[in-house]
Amino acid sequence: MTKKNISNRTFVITAAIGSALITVILILNTLWASRQTIKATDEAVSAVSSFYLNAMANRRARTITNLINNNFDQMEKAVDVIRDEEIETQEELRSSIGMIKSLLSLSRFALVDEDNVVYTQYTTYTGGSRHEFLAEGELNGRTISTVYLYGSSKQLCLAIPADFKAMGKSIKACFVQIDIRDIVNLLAFDDDQESTNFGLYSKNGGNLSGTELGPAVSDKNIFDITKGSVPEKDWLRFVDDFARERAGSLNFTVGDTKETLCYEPVQNTGWELVVLIRDSVIRDQIHSISEQNLSITKYQLTFTLIVTAVFASILLLEARIIARKKLEAEQENSRNLRSMATTDSLTGVGNKHAFSEAELELNPKIMAHEIDKLAIVVCDINGLKHVNDTLGHAAGDQLIRDASDLISRFFVHGSVYRIGGDEFTVLLQGEGYDTMQTVIDRFNRTAEENIRKDAVVVSIGYAVLDPSDEQLHDLLKRADQMMYERKRALKQMGAKTRD
C-alpha cells in the first residue's frame, strides 16, 4: 500500500468539508427535532384540552351549585326572620321583604300565599300562571326551575316551602330569582376568557346564559350547530347526555377549525355547563413557544457556527505556523547536518570533505582558465606528535585548535580547511588573494615569535595559480613543497618537529 503525503491543502479541504457536513447535519437534526416536537405537541393538544376543559367545567358547575345552596340557606333564614315579625299589613310585609333583600343580598325575593298571590317588595300579583313551581300545586322541599322572562333575560328560580301567617293569610312558599347573567359574571373569574368560552344550556340545547360559546356556536342552540359536524352516533350521545344530565365531551369541526367542548351537569337545575376551547388556541400558543424555541435554536446554531468558524480559522492558522516552524526546524537541522558533514568538529573550520567539494568546484574553472586570482596556503603544525606523546591527546587537540584559531585569525578573507591531523589549507580568492603576501609575512613573523614563546608554531607554504595549472592539486603540490621548506627553516630556529 502506497503511503501518500497529506498536504496542507488536503488537510484544509478535508477540514472544511467535515465542518460543512457537521453543520448541515446539525441544522437538519435541529429542524427535524423541532418538527417532531410540534407534531407530538399537536397530538397532545386534544388530550390536554379535554383534561383542561373537564376541570374547568366541573369547577364552574360546582360554583353554581354552591351559589344555589347558599341562596337556599339564606332563604330559610329569611323565612325565619319574617315569621318572627308577626306582619299585619301589606306595607309591613313589603318593608320586611325589602329589608331581607338588602340584608341577604337577594335579588328578587318574594312570598306566596295560599291563593298563589305573590308578594314582592314593590308589587303584589296573582302568579299562578307565571311561576312554574306554583303550577305543580304543593311545594315539596327545595325547588329549582328556570324562568324565561318574556323576551329578555332568563332567570334561575329557587323556591322553598314556608308555613306561617302574615296579614292573616297563610304563606306557603318563598322564592328568589337570580338573573343568569349575574351567575355568568360570577363564573367569569378565570383569566383565560380570551381562549375559552363557556355557556349554560337547557336540556334541549338552548343557550340560557346569553354568552357566546366561541364564534362557531355563538349563542345559538348547541344541538343545531353541532348537528352534521359530528358523526350521528356522537351527536345522539351528546343530546342524550344533556337529557340525562350527564357529563361528557365532544369534538367537532366547523370549517377548518376543530373545537373541543366539555359539559358538566349543574346539579338539580337541568342545566349543562359547557366549556369550549379551540384546539387551535392551545396549538397556536404551543406553536408560538415552539417558534420561539426554534428561533433561539437558530441563534444558538448561528452562534455555534460562528464560534466554530473562528476556532477553525485559529486552528488552521496555528497549524500553518506550526508547519512553518517545523519546516524551518527541518531546514535548520538539514543545514546543521550539512554543516556537520563539511565542518571539522574539533576546530570548526572546513574539513577535508569540504575541501574536496571546493576542489571539485574549482577544478573545472581552473581547467577552463576562468579564474585568475587563486592561491592556496598549506599549513602544518609543528610538534604535534611531541605534544601528543608528552602531554597527551587533549593537549594535542588544544594545540590543533590554537593553530586553527591562529590561521583563521590571519586569513580572515580565506577559506580554511583542516585536511589532516596537523594539516590545514587556506584557499584565497578576491581580497584574500590581494592581501595574501602581507598576511603571510605577518603570519610567518608570528610563527617565529611563537617559537620563543613556546606557543603554537605553524609552518606554511603557498602557491599561486599558474596558467599551466590544470587543477588545484597542482597548486597544492607546490605549496606543500614550500611548506616543507619552511618547516625545516623553523626547525632550525628552534621549533619542535615530528623528529
Binding site: R94, N116, V117, Y122, T123, T124, Y125, T126, G128, S129, R130, T146, Y148, L149, Y150, G151, S152, K154, S202, N204, G206, N207, L208, P215, N221
Partner: protein, 366 residues
C-alpha cells in the same frame, strides 16, 4: 373573520330596527287619539323580521317628571293567564326605571282564576276603599263593569283601563292603554284565512269570554269579513271562556258536526291551542288562524298546524300602562302628555317567524 364583520353589522341593524320601533311606540303615546292597526302595514310585516317587530322590549321612560316620589296603584285584569303575565313584565320594567329615578311605584296586579265580572266588581269595590292613586281595569264585561267604573270615578277615584278591553263608549274612565283595534285584528286574521282558502269554504269561529269587548270585537271583525265573500260560510260560533280544554272540546264537536270544515278563526289566546290540538288529533285539514303568543300555539305555528297568529305587544302595553298611570295620578288629563287611547300594535306572524318568536319569548325551550 367574515363572521366577526357581519355580526356587528347585524347587531347594528337589529338595534336600528329596535330603535325605530321604540321611537314609533313612543311617538304613538303622545299623538292623541290612537288609530286602528294599519292592515296594509301589517301585511307588509310578512317578512323575516315580523317576529322581531312584533314585541318591543326596549323601553325608556319619557321626559315627564312625576310630582310625587311614591305612587300606589291597583290593577285588575280578566283572568290569570300568561298573556297578562307578559303585560306584568312590561309594568315591572317601568317600575324599575322609576325606582332608578328615585320614584317608588308599588302596585297590585290581581285577577281571578277564571274570568268573572262579579269577581272583578268585588275587587274594584274593595279597591275603591283602599285609597289607591289610580285603579286600572282590564274590563271583564263592559256592560257590567263600565257603570261601576263611572261610580268609582264619581267617588273621586282615578280610573283607567288597560291591556285588551276598554270600557264601553262614554265611560268616565280617564284613559285606555292597550289594543284599540280588536275588530281590525279579527278582520285581518280572517282575511288571511280567506285568502289561504281562495275565498271559499266553511268556517268556524271560536271566541273567548262572553261580553269581553276584545274577543267580541275580533269575532265581529271576522264575521263581517267572511260575509263579504259569497262562497264562504260560517258554520259555528262558540265561546271557550278562555279555557284551552273548552276550546279543544268545542273544536272536536265542530269537526264532528262538520268534517269538511275548512277553517277556524280563533279570537283569544286559548282558542288556537285547543283548536290546533283537536285538528291534529282528528286529522282535519282545517286551516287555523288565531290570536296571541301562547307557547303551544307558537309550536303549532312552527309545525304548520296553525297558519298564522296575531301577536299583540303585551310588554309595551304594560310599560305604557304604568307610565300613563303615573301621569293620571298627578292629575293630568289626556291631551299633550298622553292620549285618551294609547294604541299598541298587533303583528301577524307566520310559520317562518315561529322559531324566532319562541326564542324571543320562551328562550327556545321545547
Amino acid at each position: 373573520m367574515i363572521r366577526k364583520r357581519i355580526l356587528p353589522l347585524l347587531a347594528v341593524s337589529v338595534m336600528t330596527i329596535a330603535a325605530a320601533a321604540l321611537l314609533s311606540a313612543c311617538g304613538s303615546l303622545g299623538k292623541g287619539q290612537g288609530k286602528p292597526a294599519d292592515v296594509t302595514e301589517q301585511k307588509a310585516t310578512d317578512t323575516d323580521s315580523a317576529a322581531l317587530q312584533a314585541v318591543h322590549f326596549v323601553h325608556r321612560l319619557d321626559d315627564y317628571r312625576p310630582k310625587k316620589d311614591h305612587y300606589n296603584f291597583y290593577f285588575t285584569y280578566k283572568t290569570v293567564h300568561p298573556w297578562w303575565d307578559a303585560v306584568a313584565l312590561g309594568m315591572e320594567d317601568a317600575q324599575r326605571q322609576y325606582l332608578e329615578n328615585g320614584i317608588t311605584v308599588t302596585y297590585e296586579y290581581m285577577a281571578p282564576p277564571a274570568a268573572s265580572a262579579e269577581d272583578q266588581t268585588a275587587r274594584l269595590l274593595q279597591a275603591k276603599e283602599a285609597g289607591y292613586d289610580v285603579i286600572g281595569v282590564d274590563v271583564a264585561d263592559e256592560a257590567i263593569i263600565s257603570p261601576l267604573l263611572d261610580e268609582l270615578s264619581d267617588s273621586g277615584c282615578k280610573v283607567m283601563t288597560f291591556s285588551s278591553s276598554d270600557a264601553s263608549e262614554g265611560c268616565k274612565r280617564i284613559a285606555y292603554v292597550g289594543n284599540t283595534h280588536n275588530y281590525e285584528d279579527g278582520a285581518l286574521l280572517t282575511e288571511a284565512l280567506c285568502k289561504k282558502l281562495d275565498y271559499k269554504g266553511k268556517i268556524a269561529i271560536l271566541v273567548g269570554s262572553k261580553g269581553a269587548p276584545c274577543h267580541e270585537d275580533r269575532a265581529k271583525g271576522a264575521m263581517d269579513t267572511i260575509a263579504t265573500y259569497p262562497d264562504m260560510e260560517i258554520v259555528a260560533v262558540e265561546y271557550d271562556m278562555d279555557s284551552v280544554d273548552i276550546a279543544y272540546d268545542l273544536t272536536a264537536k265542530i269537526l264532528a258536526d262538520h268534517p269538511d270544515l275548512d277553517g277556524l278563526v280563533c279570537c283569544n289566546m286559548s282558542n288556537p291551542v285547543g283548536a290546533a290540538k283537536a285538528v291534529t288529533e282528528k286529522g282535519s285539514n282545517a286551516v287555523i288562524v288565531g290570536m296571541d303568543h301562547d307557547r303551544e300555539a307558537l309550536h303549532y305555528l312552527k309545525d304548520g298546524v296553525i297558519y298564522c297568529l296575531g301577536v299583540q305587544d303585551c310588554y309595551s302595553i304594560g310599560f305604557n300602562t304604568l307610565q300613563v298611570a303615573v301621569m293620571i295620578a298627578d292629575g293630568n288629563l289626556p291631551g299633550e302628555l298622553y292620549p285618551e287611547k294609547t294604541d299598541e300594535t298587533t303583528t301577524i306572524i307566520y310559520q317562518k317567524d315561529a322559531s324566532t318568536m319562541l326564542e324571543m319569548l320562551y328562550g327556545d325551550i321545547s
